[in-house]
Structures are given as C-alpha cells and as structure tokens.
C-alpha cells in the first residue's frame, strides 16, 4: 500500500472502531441535554461546541458514526447480495427469465430513487434498517446488471469452455470459474458505491427518513442545524466534515483495493 494511503486507512480504522465502541472516544453521553448550554461554541469543555439542546457535538459525531456508516454499508451489502443473485439468475436461467428480470430492473431504475426509498420507508416505517433497505432497493439494479454482464461474458470465455471439456457439470463450472472471476468487477462496484451510499443515507436522514431522533446521525444533525444557521455555524459544519472525510477514506482505500484486484486478474 502506497504511503499516501496510510492516513486514509487510519481514518477508516478509527471510524470502524468509533462505530463499534464509541465509548472509547468520549465519556460524554451524546443524548445528555444540557439546558444551560444550548449552542455553545467550540471550547475546552465542548471541543466541537454544543447543539441547540446543549448536547456535546463531538460526542454526537462519535456516536453518530455507527448509524451514519452502518446504513450505507448495510445498503451496499444488501444490494450486493440481491443484485448478484438476480444478475446470475438472469444470465443463467435462459432468455425469458433474463427478459423478465432485466425489465424489472428497468422498472426499479425508472422510479426516481428518493421517491422509491420514500415509498419503501413509508411501507416499513422510518428507521435505520428500513432506510438501508430502501437504499439497497434503489442501488440493486446496478449490481444485478454488472453481475449479469460479467457472467454472460465469462460464459463464453475460453477457460470456461475448456473447463467444460474436463467434464465438470455446468454448476461446477459456474462455481469454479464464473462466479470467482465475476466477483472482481462486482466488488469494485461495491467499493465505489459504498461512498455514494454513505452520502445517500445522510441525505435520507436529512429529509427525515433516517433513524429516529434523538439518535445522533450526521445527516440528521445537519438537518437540525439549519434552523440555527444564523446563530451557530459549528453544528452545520462538523457533521458535514465527518461525512466527507468518511466518504473520502472509503473512496481512496476502495480505489486502491480495486486496483490491486484488477492487477491480480489481468
């Protein structure tokens, strides 16, 4: 791994730990409302200041890491799983299945993303889980398409053809050669989407589709901050920085990993 990437990897690790055990980073209760200290600017006591309820912003950002990152990650994982299944099915189960599935994907794509998420959330009720599901639904077609085209591409690959020659069954060939080699591009898409998904999930909580208050979530914190923009800049800045840094870390490390994979395969 190149030197330039070390800091980002570090960031990623820190964020992961934050999401896992936030208490390591702060002793302050993120939901403790201090009636006497609303919108206090950054200070020794409150490193990043306090929000409109006098809650410590630093603590909320630390505790916000889990929902903020988990929704996006969960969405990607769900989309990945569903997408691969559908994509492979479309590629393997013959023309009819392919047509049906591909058109269905078009349907999903044709409905505006946010509206679709909104519908899903409305059906399942608001919350982190449903937000993740909603995002997964919206982003699944991408994975399905890549998986499908990869499988189709590999089906005619010479080494797959050769493998048939050794007397493997169709399933065996798919398992031994098609899926492992299709994994590369699909995972590449996954790492790329992860950043986008984190941004997307924050957008959701921004419009109130995320986890419920008082849960600390970066997008939601930004949403709250709008009210007090004229009074306090810090609640409107730090959560945004958190999101951006997180996404950057994911992107850079992800890109590197992808290059590694490509390098190994071609």
């Amino acid at each position: 791994m190149p030197r330039s990437l070390w800091p980002w990897t570090a960031v990623l690790v820190v964020l992961a730990v934050m999401a896992a055990v936030p208490s390591l980073f702060t002793g302050i209760d993120p939901d403790a409302a201090d009636l006497n200290a609303p919108l206090h600017p950054p200070s020794a006591e409150h490193w990043l200041g306090t929000d409109q309820n006098g809650r410590d912003l630093y603590a909320r950002i630390v505790y916000g890491a889990r929902p903020s990152l988990l929704i996006g990650t969960g969405a990607v994982l769900l989309a990945l799983a569903a997408g691969v299944v559908i994509g492979v099915a479309a590629a393997q189960l013959g023309r009819v299945a392919d047509q049906v599935l591909s058109r269905s994907l078009d349907v999903v794509l044709s409905v505006p993303g946010l509206l679709l998420v909104f519908l899903v959330v409305a059906v399942l009720g608001p919350g982190s889980g449903t937000a993740a599901v909603g995002l997964a639904v919206v982003s699944m077609p991408g994975f399905a398409r890549v998986a499908r085209s990869e499988v189709i591409r590999l089906r005619s690959a010479q080494y797959v053809e050769a493998a048939h020659g050794f007397g493997w069954s169709r399933a065996q060939v798919v398992a031994r050669h098609v899926l492992p080699n299709a994994a590369g591009p699909v995972l590449a898409l996954a790492t790329v989407s992860l950043g986008a998904m984190i941004v997307a999930s924050s957008s959701l909580s921004f419009v109130g589709l995320g986890p419920r208050p008082p849960t600390a979530e970066w997008g939601a914190m930004l949403s709250d901050s709008r009210e007090f923009l004229a009074l306090a800049w810090w609640p409107a800045v730090f959560p945004g920085v958190a999101i951006t840094v997180a996404v950057l870390a994911v992107t850079f490390v992800g890109q590197h990993l992808n290059r590694r994979v490509e390098g190994r395969l071609s």
């Binding site: 058109r103 409905v111 509206l115 519908l119 409305a122 950043g195 921004f206 930004l222 840094v245 950057l248």
Partner: protein, 335 residues
C-alpha cells in the same frame, strides 16, 4: 474490440450489397421501436409497483386523508364513495389502470385538482434545474477533463483527488454552505427558490458539482485510453496537429462513455433534484411527489412516477441514438 470483430463480417456483407447507410438507419429505427415497446412494459411495471406499495402502506387512505380535518360521517362517506376507496383492491387497480390508459390521471385526493394541472405547474421548475445542471456538468466536465488530461501523472492524480473530494461532499450540505455564504451572508443570490437566472446559480452549482467531477474523471480516463490507441500514432504520422488530433480523433472516443454517464445522470436528476429543491425552497415535481406519498395521494404519486419513468425511458433512448451517431460500430450491431 469484441464488438467490432463480432460485427465486421456483417458489415462486410452489408458492404458487398452496398445499401449499408439505408439499413443503418433502419437499424436505428428498429432499435428505437424495440426500446419503445419494452418501455411500455416498464411504465406498466412502475405504475403497478407504486400502486402496490401505496396499498401496503399502513393506515387507510381515508383516515390519512381526513387526518387534518374535522368532518361529519356523511362527508367522510362522500369522500370514500367518490374515490372508490372501499372497492376491492383489484377493482381499484384495474379501474385506475384503465383510466391511465385512456390518459385520465384523475384528481388529487389532497389538492382536489386534476393531477395533470399540478404536474404541469411543477414540472417546468424541475426540468429547468435539471437542464442547467446537465449543461453545467457537461461544460465543467469537458473543460476540466481536457485540461487535466495531457498533464504529468502527479498533476492528474491531484485533479483526481480534487474530484474525489467534490464527490464526497453531500450535495445538500454543499447547498447549505453555498446558501449560507452567498445568500444569507453576502446577499449575492436570492435565498428562496426562484427561476430567475440568479436563483438558479446556487442550486445548479450544488447539484452539478458531484456529477461534473465524476464525468470529468471518466472523460479523462477515456482521453488517456484513446491516446494509447494505434490510430493516434497513425494520425500523428500523417502530420496533423495535436489540436486536430484531439478534436477529430480522441475526443469522440472519450465521449462514448461520457454520453452514457450523462444519460444516467439526467435520468437520476429528474427525481434526485428533490433534496436540493428542498434546501433552496424551489418548487418542483419531487417535493410534490414526496408530500403526495406522505398523504397516500395515489393519483398524484402514480402520475409523478409515470412522468419520471417516461423521462427515464426517453433519456435512455436518446443515449442510444447518440451512441448510434457517435459510434458507427454499434449501427451494424443490431440488437
């Protein structure tokens, strides 16, 4: 390349009975027709999915509709009767489908107006924003991409990092910052939604930044890849200038992926502009749809879904046509 190999015998065959161009146009027509046919299915699917989702949403439509009201039983009954809210679902579905086919989108439960008037009132705002955003994206991307393309490796990576940064900015946050700085503080631009040129600047910027960065990256990759193609050496060996080389040869190749990408962006913007519209208090079809969903306003939601779905279909077809124009190889590919 594979595509080329696949199609070349066909092309040669066509060449032999030299009526290629004619058939080429035919392939385009066929392509478009096929797509349109398929898209009919897509639209139907979109409507159906939306209908189902709206039905499985908790809360009876009547209750949600009357949530904000104080009405006597007879009014409640009148409303339920008028919208056929207690008909069996299949019946509701079929009647509604029938209406749509006849082009009647009905009246909004909540706004009590023909949904069509409503959309007609809101769509322009969104389309305008989408248009300016696409324009900004394309221009910014091409300039940035071309400028950064023939530079040293480390300069390129610098550009690339900058792009990653822009992409990592949540658009709504960017919008918030722009609004605070340029509107609330500096008073350079209006603070609330207006379709005046000035009013479009900030939303467009907030919306276009991310896509522009992505496209610029793709474009640059494309340019670099194209520069490695053998025909570039050949062209140079003919003694043409670098400018001409980029203009006549390289750029077109790089534009192929960009076209597809722009199409995708356009499609996603029509529905995706909502958040920015909210931040900048612009009127738009997105906000219309969201509040409609919140109120289980079925006719409105489905109408919006239909409009955006049609837009999506048209955009994809437009992209296909563009690709057809830019890349002759696809013309003989059929589909």
């Amino acid at each position: 390349m594979a595509g080329v190999l696949k199609t070349s015998p066909a092309g040669a065959a066509a060449a032999r009975n030299g009526r290629r161009s004619g058939r080429g146009r035919k392939t385009l027509v066929r392509l478009v027709l096929v797509r349109l046919a398929a898209s009919a299915g897509v639209l139907w699917g979109a409507v159906t999915v939306t209908f189902v989702l709206l039905q499985v949403m908790p809360g009876s439509t009547a209750d949600v509709l009357l949530a904000r009201s104080a009405v006597g039983p007879e009014v409640r009954a009148a409303i339920i009767a008028e919208y056929g809210l207690d008909d069996p679902l299949p019946l509701q579905y079929l009647t509604y489908l029938g209406r749509i086919v006849r082009g009647e989108f009905g009246e909004s439960y909540v706004l009590r107006r023909p949904v069509w008037d409503e959309i007609a009132a809101q769509l322009p705002g969104t389309l305008l924003l989408v248009a300016t955003t696409l324009l900004a994206t394309a221009v910014a991307a091409v300039v940035h991409g071309v400028v950064s393309a023939n530079r040293r490796a480390w300069v390129r990576s610098l550009f690339a990092s900058a792009e990653s940064l822009v992409v990592a900015l949540p658009p709504f946050w960017l919008g918030l910052l722009l609004l605070t700085v340029f509107s609330f503080t500096l008073h350079w631009f209006p603070a609330i939604g207006s379709s005046s040129p000035a009013g479009l600047v900030l939303p467009t910027a907030a919306l276009a930044a991310g896509p522009a960065a992505v496209v610029a990256g793709v474009l640059r990759e494309g340019l670099l890849r194209a520069m490695d193609e053998p025909f570039v050496v050949t062209a140079r060996a003919r003694g043409i200038g670098e400018a001409a080389l980029r203009l006549r040869h390289v750029l077109r190749h790089a534009l192929l992926p960009v076209t597809t990408l722009l199409g995708w962006i356009a499609g996603s913007l029509i529905g995706g502009a909502v958040i920015i519209e909210i931040v900048f208090s612009r009127q738009g079809i997105g906000r219309l749809a969201l509040s409609a969903v919140a109120n289980k306003d079925m006719p409105m939601v489905i109408a919006v879904v239909l409009v955006t779905a049609v837009a999506f279909v048209l955009v994809t077809i437009a992209v296909d046509i563009l690709t057809w124009v830019i890349d002759p190889r696809t013309r003989d590919a059929g589909r």
